[in-house]
């Protein structure tokens, strides 16, 4: 079982939810399993107001944050878990079945990390762009004839698994890796690398969006530590300066 302090380091992030009932259902499942931190990304404003003003709205929902972009919601997270089914696509991230997720969570908690569980919109789930910010894609093992779950039910199942199967000492699972650089640092690094690509005329303009995406996926797969990220950023700042460009945004 997770301790209260551990639950406090796990965030739930709801991306572009449409149905206010589903926002309420996710909040209720969080309260049921003792999770307190909800962020909603780019909600449809009238529905977001409706969800927050529902008579039985949890205090959790009153305290929820609303942000414009997923990157903002994830800034301090070291392990970002996307959710979804893979019926119509293949994954660029490592896929972990939900029943096998516990060791990943426990290692991240032991390394003092912050974890985000990211849930996509009702109809089509997380986009490829959303998933580019995720370290792992968590898959709930559903029947291939009816793979797509209701948003509130998917949240309940994921949070149940986290609350009941995580929180054992990480040693019980496998060797503990070093701390992982948070998402905002990886985005900062990605920006520097992209500026360098442009400054060095590395690729044609048409390739920029594809490179942008692939770079984010790659940086997460590498599991960089904070010193790794710091050093790499130092290198790219140096290159940019040499190329006669401004050295990119300040380090977070």
């Amino acid at each position: 079982m997770l301790t209260t302090a551990q639950r406090d380091r796990i965030l739930v992030i709801l991306v572009r939810p449409r149905n206010p009932l589903n926002i309420g259902a996710v909040a209720r499942a969080m309260a049921n399993f003792g999770f307190a931190h909800l962020t909603v990304v780019a909600p449809y404003e009238p529905h977001w107001r409706e969800a927050k003003s529902a008579i039985q709205a949890e205090s959790l929902l009153q305290n929820a944050k609303s942000v414009e972009h997923l990157a903002e919601a994830l800034a301090h997270c070291t392990l970002v878990l996307g959710t979804g089914t893979l019926t119509h696509r293949s994954a660029e991230q490592p896929v972990v079945p939900l029943p096998a997720l516990a060791p990943h969570i426990d290692r991240a908690l032991q390394a003092d990390g912050r974890i985000a569980l990211v849930l996509g919109p009702e109809k089509h789930g997380l986009t490829r762009d959303d998933l580019a910010y995720c370290h792992l894609l968590v898959e709930i093992p559903t029947d291939p004839r009816q793979p797509s779950m209701n948003l509130g039910q998917a949240a309940a199942v994921c949070l149940y698994e986290l609350a009941t199967r995580c929180g054992v000492p990480a040693e019980a699972h496998a060797p503990v890796p070093a701390a992982i650089a948070p998402s905002a640092t990886l985005d900062c690094l990605a920006d520097l690398i992209e500026q360098t690509m442009t400054a060095s005329a590395y690729s044609p303009r048409a390739m920029v969006p594809a490179n942008h995406h692939d770079l984010r996926v790659l940086l997460r797969r590498l599991a960089l530590t904070p010193p790794d990220a710091r050093r790499t950023m130092g290198l790219f700042r140096r290159i940019l300066w040499r190329l006669g460009h401004t050295p990119g945004p300040p380090q977070p």
Copy 2:
């Protein structure tokens, strides 16, 4: 993981549901996790019709049975699992936390049993009378500050646990007990014992409802095998005949 044949021996029973959306949500979770057999006990008729005629109603919902009494729905079951929280009462049945349920399910499947997962109505859950038909009370470990789950979410969490954590050979858990007498046989035995109590003027009339309840709870706790039940029924028929009464209903 459960095989399809094993999933086919697990029924979901919804007792007196009020909200047609919740009936639909339970059906959807069943389809997500590959369970096909739904029985609804004493539904509110207009809502039941509405749930079955919903545009996206699963074929599962079209094939669902509706019965008047829980005992009917359970007749062929050898392991009946009640669900609920224990915030406002103590349990008469053994309580099993959901994450520890798998060995019970696997033993029942190995003994060729039929299993029922019984979900209560939205507001107050299963009554004490409903629970008298249950062998075990399954408890989802929720936060004491918000213990009560939404019906569709509770169903999803239970079915996820069954689908993903059960289906390992029962030997892997513990010794395999003998087959268990089905629910209808236990009810038949309970009737015979009650007739005997009356015929023998065992207890004052005011005690009859309490005895009725306690007897059902007791018979389930005993885990009688079919031969146990047959022999005991034979004994009570004999006693009744000796007491000059009709020998009770026919053996099922």
